[in-house]
C-alpha cells in the first residue's frame, strides 16, 4: 500500500457502504450489473491495457464462464460454488487455446481483433444450436436461495460478492504491475521485437496474459449467471459484452489498475442519466457510449485516469509555482 492506493480504497469502501444506506432494488441492481461489467473490463484490461492486444471478442470468455457455470448446475446438478469455480477455469482454458492459436500464428493489431471476434461468433452460433446449452431458448438455473448454492435473496450480498471479486482483481492487477511478468508484458506492448531481443519470451508472456485475462472475464460471466439465473447465446456470447468490456477499460484508462472500475461506473451512470432524460428511446444510452469511445480516443487516450493524472500534475505545478512566488 502506498499513498497512490488511497483513491482506490476510498472508492471500494464507498461502494461497500451503499447497500447499508439503501435497499432500493434499482440501486442495488445497477451496482451489481455495473460491477459485473467492471470485472469483465478488468479482464480485458490485463490483455488489452497492459499487453496492448486489443480483443474484440472477450464475449468468448464471458460466455464460457456463464455457460459452464449454468450447464454444470442444470445438467449435472453440480453445486453453485463449484460451478462458479469450474466456469472460471473453463474460461481460462478457452483463453489459453484462443491465445495459443492466434499468437502462435503471429496475429496482432487488427488481425487479432478480427480473429477474437470470429471465435466469439463461432461460440455464439454453436451455443444457439447445441442441445446441451438449451439452444435458442437458453438455460434457466433453478431458484434455490441459500448460501450453500451461491444464491442469495438479499441483493446486497451480491453487491458485496461482486465488489470482493473486483477488489481482488484490483489487488491482483496492482501486484502484476510491480511483478517481473507485468514489466515483461508492458515491454511486449511497447515494442515486441525489442523485448524479445532483451530475452523476453513474448509468446509465453502473451499467453499468460490472455489466460489470466480470460479467467477474470469468465468470472464476470459466471457471476452474471448466479445473479440473473438465466443465460442464452446472445447474452453470453453476444458482441455487447465484448464492447462493454473494451469500452469501460478504454474510458477509465487502459493499462491502469483503477481504470476499468472507474470507466464502468462512469459509463453506466452516464447511461442512466441519458435514459432518464431521453425517456424510453431504445439504444440512446449506447449512442452516447459510442460517441464517448470516439471522444476518448480523440482527446483522452489514457481515459479518465489519464485526465485525473494530468489535472493533478497541473495543480502540483501551480502549488510549486505559488510557493516559489511566496
Amino acid at each position: 500500500m502506498t499513498t497512490k492506493d488511497w483513491p482506490t480504497l476510498l472508492i471500494v469502501v464507498a461502494i461497500a457502504l451503499v447497500p447499508l444506506a439503501t435497499s432500493a432494488n434499482t440501486v442495488l441492481n445497477f451496482l451489481v450489473f455495473t460491477l459485473i461489467i467492471a470485472l469483465a473490463a478488468q479482464g480485458w484490461n490485463i490483455l488489452g491495457g497492459y499487453g496492448g492486444q486489443f480483443s474484440f471478442g472477450h464475449a468468448a470468455f464471458f460466455g464460457t464462464g456463464a455457460y459452464v457455470t449454468a450447464i454444470l448446475q442444470v445438467r449435472l446438478g453440480v453445486n453453485g460454488w463449484a460451478g462458479f469455480a469450474l466456469g472460471i477455469a473453463a474460461g481460462a482454458l478457452i483463453g489459453a487455446i484462443i491465445g495459443y492459436l492466434s499468437f502462435r500464428s503471429g496475429l496482432r493489431g487488427s488481425y487479432f481483433a478480427l480473429v477474437t471476434l470470429a471465435f466469439a461468433e463461432v461460440l455464439r452460433v454453436v451455443a444457439n444450436a447445441a442441445p446441451v446449452t438449451g439452444g435458442a431458448a437458453g438455460l434457466l438455473v433453478r431458484l434455490e436461495p441459500g448460501a450453500a448454492n451461491f444464491q442469495f435473496e438479499n441483493r446486497a450480498v451480491f453487491v458485496w460478492i461482486a465488489l470482493a471479486l473486483v477488489a481482488g482483481v484490483l489487488v491482483l492487477t496492482r501486484r502484476m504491475e510491480q511483478s517481473r511478468f507485468g514489466a515483461q508484458l508492458v515491454a511486449v506492448r511497447e515494442n515486441e521485437e525489442a523485448a524479445r531481443a532483451l530475452g523476453v519470451d513474448a509468446l509465453a508472456t502473451k499467453l499468460k496474459a490472455i489466460t489470466l485475462s480470460a479467467a477474470v472475464t469468465a468470472a464476470a460471466g459466471a457471476l452474471y449467471v448466479q445473479y440473473f439465473l438465466y443465460v442464452d447465446a446472445g447474452l453470453a456470447f453476444g458482441t455487447w459484452i465484448s464492447v462493454e468490456a473494451l469500452l469501460a477499460a478504454m474510458a477509465g484508462g487502459k493499462g491502469t489498475v483503477l481504470g476499468p472500475l472507474v470507466g464502468a461506473l462512469t459509463l453506466h451512470s452516464l447511461g442512466e442519466v441519458t435514459k432518464a432524460f431521453a425517456g424510453r428511446v431504445p439504444g440512446i444510452d449506447l449512442v452516447i457510449f459510442g460517441l464517448v469511445l470516439v471522444a476518448v480516443v480523440a482527446f483522452a487516450p489514457d481515459g479518465l485516469m489519464g485526465l485525473a493524472r494530468r489535472l493533478r500534475g497541473r495543480m502540483r505545478r501551480k502549488a510549486v509555482a505559488s510557493e516559489a512566488a511566496a
Binding site: 496492448g52 486489443f54 474484440f56 492459436l101 492466434s102 500464428s105 496475429l107 493489431g109 487488427s110 488481425y111 481483433a113 478480427l114 480473429v115 471476434l117 470470429a118 471465435f119 461468433e121 463461432v122 452460433v125 454453436v126 444457439n128 444450436a129 435458442a136 458482441t239 464492447v243 473494451l246 478504454m250 428511446v281 431504445p282 439504444g283 440512446i284 449506447l286 449512442v287 452516447i288 457510449f289 459510442g290 460517441l291 464517448v292 469511445l293 470516439v294 480516443v297 480523440a298 487516450p301
Partner: protein
C-alpha cells in the same frame, strides 16, 4: 444426399448472393488497401444505406434500382466527411485508434438507427423480390441475378477508375507510399477521404441491390460485416480481384452449408473459414506479403 440438381441450384443461387457480398467486401478492401484500416463501421453504414433505399421507395416512391443514383453519391459524401472530419483527426494516425474510432462510430450509428426506426423489420412493398427467371433447367431469383450483373459492372468501373484516371493514380500512389505521394503534390488526406467515400458508395449500390430480396432493421448490417471481413481476409486484404472471387466463394459455401446444416448452423462454415485463413494464411489467397 440431395439430388445433384438441387445442389447445383443451391450453389448457383449462392454464387448470385455472393456477388452482393463481394460488392460489400469491395468497399471494405478498397478502404483497407489504401488506408490500411479495418473499418468496423462498414456494417452499420450498409444498414444506413439500406434504410436510405427503403425511405426512397416508401416516402418518395422511387424504384430501388433508380435510387442508386441518389444513394450512391449520398454515401460517397457521407464516407468522405466521416474520414475527413471524424476518423482521420480523431485517430492521430495510429492503427489501434482507427479500429476503436470506427467501432465507436458503429455503436453510435447502429443505436442511433435503432432509436429512430425502432427494432421493427421492414421490407420493400411489392412482389418484385419473389420474381424468378428460368435459366436452363434452373429457376434463379431475379433480384439476385440483377445484383450479380450490376456487381460485375461496378467492379469493372472501379477498376477503370483506379487504372485510368488521375484520381485513381493518386489513390494507388497513396496506397503504395504516402510520403512519396505527398512529396509529388498529392493531397493525402483528400485522397484518403475519396477512397473512404468510394467504399461507402459501393455500400449504397449494394444496399439497393439487396433490399428487393432482403429486409432491413437496425442490426441487419452485422450479418454482412463478418461475411465481408471473411471475404476480404480470404481474398487478401486490399485486393480487388480477391474480394470478387472471395465473395463468390463465400456465397457458394454459405448456400451449401445452409443446405446441409440448416440456416442457424450454416453461418458456421463462414466463420470457420475466416478463422482458418487468419491462422494459416493471413495474407489471403491474393494478398501480398504483409
Amino acid at each position: 444426399m440431395y439430388p445433384p440438381a438441387i445442389i447445383a441450384e443451391a450453389a448457383l443461387n449462392g454464387l448470385l448472393q455472393g456477388a452482393v457480398y463481394a460488392l460489400v467486401a469491395l468497399g471494405l478492401t478498397l478502404i483497407y488497401g489504401v488506408l490500411h484500416i479495418i473499418n468496423f463501421a462498414h456494417g452499420v453504414l450498409l444498414t444506413a444505406a439500406m434504410f436510405a433505399v427503403w425511405a426512397a421507395q416508401t416516402w418518395l416512391g422511387l424504384d430501388p434500382y433508380v435510387s442508386i443514383l441518389i444513394v450512391a453519391p449520398l454515401f460517397f459524401g457521407i464516407g468522405y466527411a466521416l474520414q475527413r472530419f471524424v476518423i482521420g483527426p480523431a485517430s492521430h494516425g495510429d492503427d489501434g485508434n482507427i479500429l476503436l474510432v470506427t467501432l465507436g462510430l458503429a455503436i453510435a450509428l447502429e443505436n442511433g438507427l435503432l432509436a429512430l426506426f425502432r427494432s421493427d423489420t421492414r421490407t420493400l412493398a411489392g412482389e418484385a423480390g419473389f420474381a424468378v427467371v428460368p435459366v436452363g433447367p434452373f429457376l434463379l431469383s431475379q433480384p439476385k441475378l440483377v445484383g450479380f450483373v450490376v456487381t460485375l459492372l461496378v467492379a469493372a468501373l472501379l477498376w477503370l477508375l483506379l487504372d485510368r484516371t488521375d484520381t485513381g493514380r493518386a489513390i494507388r500512389a497513396v496506397a503504395k507510399e504516402k510520403l512519396g505521394a505527398s512529396l509529388v503534390g498529392i493531397d493525402v488526406q483528400h485522397t484518403y477521404a475519396v477512397t473512404f467515400g468510394l467504399g461507402c458508395a459501393c455500400l449504397g449500390i449494394a444496399a439497393a441491390l439487396l433490399l428487393p430480396s432482403f429486409y432491413v432493421n437496425p442490426r441487419v448490417g452485422n450479418a454482412f460485416v463478418l461475411v465481408a471481413f471473411t471475404i476480404v481476409v480470404l481474398g487478401g486484404m486490399g485486393s480487388i480481384p480477391g474480394a470478387l472471387i472471395g465473395g463468390l466463394v463465400i456465397g457458394v459455401v454459405e448456400a451449401l452449408c445452409g443446405l446441409y446444416l440448416g440456416d442457424s448452423l450454416g453461418q458456421l462454415g463462414i466463420f470457420l473459414i475466416f478463422i482458418l485463413v487468419l491462422l494459416i494464411r493471413p495474407t489471403g489467397l491474393f494478398g501480398a506479403k504483409a
